[in-house]
Amino acid sequence: MNIGAMTLAEAAGLGLMALGAGFFIAGTVGMLRFPDAVSRLHALTKADTLGLGLVVLGAMVMAATPGAVLRLGLIWICVALAGALGAQLIAAFVRRSGDGSGE
């Protein structure tokens, strides 16, 4: 990789995205290793909001056209809302059906 040719914005963007990818790794490890469905849900929502949030932020820094920034912001808002809703629905489903909760 040619670090020298990067501008400050590109380096910052890549750094933010790498941090975001770290959250995706953490989320996947949590999903694989946590003992029950409710804890796994916990791992999922971190990757959803923080991981994608950082990737989107890095992308905004790199591609500073208004159209791209607008779309990236909308993408993050939609996924964060969907993640929150999905986690809540699945958690209620787990309680209702009584599986995976370890109670």
């Binding site: 939609c78 809302l81 969907a82 929150a84 209620a92 309680r95 209702r96």
Partner: protein
């Protein structure tokens, strides 16, 4: 080594492995989830192949319509025993056929790699793009150069929904879904209030973008269909018998406008779909808007799966834990 080569190889392997897993999984629900994931991977593959239009359609259909359709199908199948495996001769015959098709495709692919790259029609499309009325080559092909093909696809969708409604008339009582829909609670309600208008906006945007960028009637219609599906699932809208006239009008609108434009153009000195240059863009946009509405209504109706004709309305059960159930839990 270029990381994208490894990425493509991983994606290709994942596609094959996922396809196998979908078919081989013994658990119906696991199959459905794997199929949803497969749709996502296919969308990524289309992007890597340089076909963002197809990726957009796959994303809208795969994320919005197919998953919901298959999960609703599981609800219909609940409580029914798994079908017994087909007899051995049938399985061997099917396996042999699949192997033959695969071998033939492999031979074609190998031959294509060796053969000189054919000219294709991309040059012809690019040369005539200025006469098409739109700036995006895919839309120019779909709505102008090969408009007949697109008309036939719209008619196929129309026939599909007609058949679904007709079948349902024969076996309505037995066909009613087993088990009530779940009441999703206040969080879902708040989400739907935000997400439904946002998705309507996205559908309209994709339709508009189709004139000069990837997008268009099918992608916009699929997103709007997902709006209808979400509204039905969330209980915000329930199809009723009195909606049938509107539904029929929406199903037929796309094909009707498409044919009327052909007749209008064809009755003059030109052949069908040989639009006059000044009218090409308005005509294409008119057709696309009508087809978008038809696709949205048709896909949503296919998800609902039957004519809304005075069936017993399933009552709902709450997704939250009722206090009585909580007390009775061990």
């Amino acid at each position: 080594m270029d990381p994208m080569v490894i990425f493509d190889a991983g994606l290709a392997l994942a596609l094959v492995a996922l396809s196998w897993a979908v078919l081989a999984s013994a658990d119906r629900f696991a199959s459905v989830v794997l199929f949803i994931v497969l749709g996502l991977m296919v969308a990524l593959a289309w992007v890597r192949l340089g076909a963002p239009d197809v990726a957009l359609a796959e994303a809208a259909i795969g994320a919005g319509v197919t998953g919901a359709l298959l999960l609703a199908t599981l609800r219909h199948l609940r409580g029914q025993p798994e079908a017994p495996p087909s007899p051995a001769p049938v399985r061997w015959a099917v396996g042999g056929m699949v192997a033959a098709v695969t071998a033939a495709l492999a031979a074609v692919v190998v031959a294509l790699v060796a053969a000189p790259r054919p000219e294709g029609l991309a040059g012809a499309v690019a040369d005539n793009l200025a006469m098409s009325g739109v700036e995006h080559p895919v839309t120019a092909v779909l709505l102008n150069f090969r408009a007949h093909d697109t008309l036939m696809e719209v008619v196929v969708l129309l026939v599909a929904v007609v058949v679904v409604w007709a079948i349902d008339r024969g076996l309505a009582p037995a066909h009613a879904p087993q088990g009530p829909l779940v009441d999703l609670g206040p969080v879902q309600d708040g989400f739907a209030r935000l997400a439904l208008p946002a998705a309507v906006l996205l559908g309209a945007y994709l339709l508009w973008a189709g004139a000069h960028a990837p997008g268009g009637a099918f992608q916009g219609g699929a997103v709007l269909a997902a709006v209808g599906i979400l509204a039905i699932l969330a209980g915000r809208w329930r199809p009723e018998p009195r909606h049938r006239a509107w539904a029929r009008a929406a199903f037929g609108l796309g094909a009707t406008v498409f044919v009327l434009v052909a007749l209008g153009v064809g009755l003059g000195p030109r052949v069908a779909y040989e639009y006059p240059l000044t009218l090409a863009k308005p005509l294409i946009l008119t057709i696309e808007a009508a087809v978008t509405l038809s696709i949205a209504a048709t896909l949503a109706a296919l998800f609902f799966g039957r004519e809304p004709a005075g069936l017993t309305v399933p009552n709902t059960v709450p997704n939250t834990v009722p206090s009585t159930a909580r007390g009775g839990r061990p």
